[in-house]
Symmetry: C2
Amino acid sequence: MVDETADSAAPSRLMNTPSWLMTQTATHAHRMVSEGFAAAEARAYHYRLLAALEEFGPASQAALGRRCGVDRSDMVAMINELADRRLLERAPDPSDRRRNIITITPAGSRQLRRLDDVLAEVQEELLAPLDAGERGQLAGLLARVLRHHQRGQ
Amino acid sequence: MVDETADSAAPSRLMNTPSWLMTQTATHAHRMVSEGFAAAEARAYHYRLLAALEEFGPASQAALGRRCGVDRSDMVAMINELADRRLLERAPDPSDRRRNIITITPAGSRQLRRLDDVLAEVQEELLAPLDAGERGQLAGLLARVLRHHQRGQ
DNA sequence: GCAACTTTGTTGGATCATCCCACGATCACG
DNA sequence: CGTGATCGTGGGATGATCCAACAAAGTTGC
């Protein structure tokens, strides 16, 4: 029997490159989160928007997009979808008629809490090989990298 | 003057979620690598293929795809592009007429070494806030997560 | 040796996330 | 008042990933 890992092992150049490790683990993370949310009949970006609304209160579409790193254009479809499911409400801003004020509904808050549970399970599966301390280390290191590249932009 | 970070701060639910930190940092990493390679008139996947060929020697398109996690379909266009630039050669396998044997050329090896330098610069910029020890920690943790999810697939 | 299954390269298309541009409406400021 | 910026919206480009189907060629079991 031939060693099955022989022709599936990635080049060491890649396995030693942080950016490769990041994009590869992110691909797994993204797939697992998407599948987890799909099982709850939700999409990944639902969580982003609901979380932002829950934490910071009602906001315009543009402000919401800035928080979550989503383009204004793409916010439209996302909010359409969430509004169709009555998870948030889109109302015109009386003090600025260009804006819509997006507000999370009670059903949206409930859905957010449900997605919290789903997401916690996915993190557990994603980080299975790491203990609690290592998970904290990883999150801390990534957060520092992320903060560094979010500065001034 | 209003605090400009006030409406750009991401929800804490996201900043505390490892999968979010992974996908976000990976987005930055991917963008920086793409830009770095574009400046060298190369694409991100060029490096993958050249690295695999340099380390493991000539291989069929399918074997190459398995190593680098690239679909057979997508290998075709990638190899076309690299073959057009004479960075690798595609020759029929005499012992199995279904297969093509892909071989890196001297120009391909030179290009790989040039891309090594580009990539090293990008890693430096990407991981700027971390010292050498922390970079090792991060790479080690990500590699363990990655290995865990690559098992048996 | 022959039928059934698998592998390989290739084409074509689907999906998804991200990004950019242009438009009309509205607002802010000189 | 008029110039420039912002907002929601629509349209489209891009790039990465994935899947289906196909013919040609190999492999396996009977």
